[in-house]
Amino acid sequence: MKKIGLFILYTLFFVAALLFFTPKENLYYYAEEQLKPLGVVIGYEEAIDHGFSLEIQHAKLYVQKIKSANISTTHIALYGLYNSVSIENIVLDKTFEQFFPPLIEQIDIYQNVFSPMHIKAEARGDFGEANATVNLLERSAAVTLRPSKMMLSRYKNTLRQLKRSKEGDYRYEYKF
């Protein structure tokens, strides 16, 4: 019993040490390289390694060379058993003002070991609140939006692209 306990302790210690020593900045740059062929570039950011997590500050998001958003802070925590990405204060570029409210206060994306093929996300901002789930097995994603008064009054055209449920939510589903 003592040996099993020690084995678990050593394993946890190894995982913690590996997480601590993992070159998180370089891992982030590697992820950036994977996004580049998709036309997504995150520029001008500052990556700060906090030991067990990574913080990205003042990033600018470019999609297909078009400046799309300024992102104030992103916290990335990859613990293996539980992984999360928390993005704060996303200000969409003026180009998109016609389609979507510019300020997204927070997006939380998380995944855990008990359901590794499902990624969940929650977001809130001037648009209202939204939940999203991504099913990696079925290669599908679904977004449920509870729009704010501003979204309902000023962005009717955007809402028309979504399916309205009986509860008053708006849903968007797609396969990839």
């Binding site: 190894f14 891992l27 740059y29 950036e32 950011e45 300024n70």
Partner: protein, 280 residues
Amino acid sequence: MNINFNPSLMRFVRNLLIIILVAKALSLVMLWYFAYEGVHHHANNSKLPEYKRYNANNIIKPTKKPDPKTASEPTSEEAQELAAYGPNISNMVLKGLFKRKSGGLVIIALRAKPNDSEVISIDEVYQGYTLIKILKNGAIFDKNGETFSLYFSEEQQKDRYASRPSKSNLADDDGGIKQVAKTDIVKYAKNVKQIWKDIGIVEVKKAGKITGFKVTRIKPNTPFAQLGLRKGDIIIKANNKAMTSYKDAIAIYKGIDKLEALELVVLRNNQETEINYEIY
């Protein structure tokens, strides 16, 4: 001196150290596999598309719509001068133009579809015609080595300045682009002391390094008050160049008389805000 260590504690500590070493070795392997630096966005000096760098207020355009049935004939001396470049393009209509030393743009449409306007700048092609020159009252095109002209109709000629705003309006904000008079810049360049009377700027440092320049005060009713800057703004970039030293700031200041557009990025309430200027 005789020190007795607990052998099992020693084994435990030794095993932890081995684990740390293995984890570190693995992380070094990962370092070799991952990328060494991030992906950078390479932007042009100005992120604005060319047609957006001009203030639409400055475009010379008649208030009356051109009559698609009437072919535009050069009647005035200006138009005759234009016609000397080559025959008029009869199936197109000139709706507006913006001329500056380094180029400009024209707004044109097919006479058959006068509402489908296109904005063309120098060297761009429209319906097979390449825009090569913009004059005060028309534009010169090239097609297969032959020169053609396109000018305002007589009716438009009479009316063409009607829509141009008064000079006092030019400094107003127009879709995020502000107007700055070159004469004001020259005036300040000759009298640097006046700059510090009209605006207060101090450097902002983080960990001993300059990260921007903060506006501490702006004197009302001065050209600086028209720039859209506010007290507390921190200028962090000018024309995509980070303001991380006095050298960067001076480089912009020295070259400002040669610029036709300036883009400032300021931190306002911890959010980045872009301010675009057209220097006329």
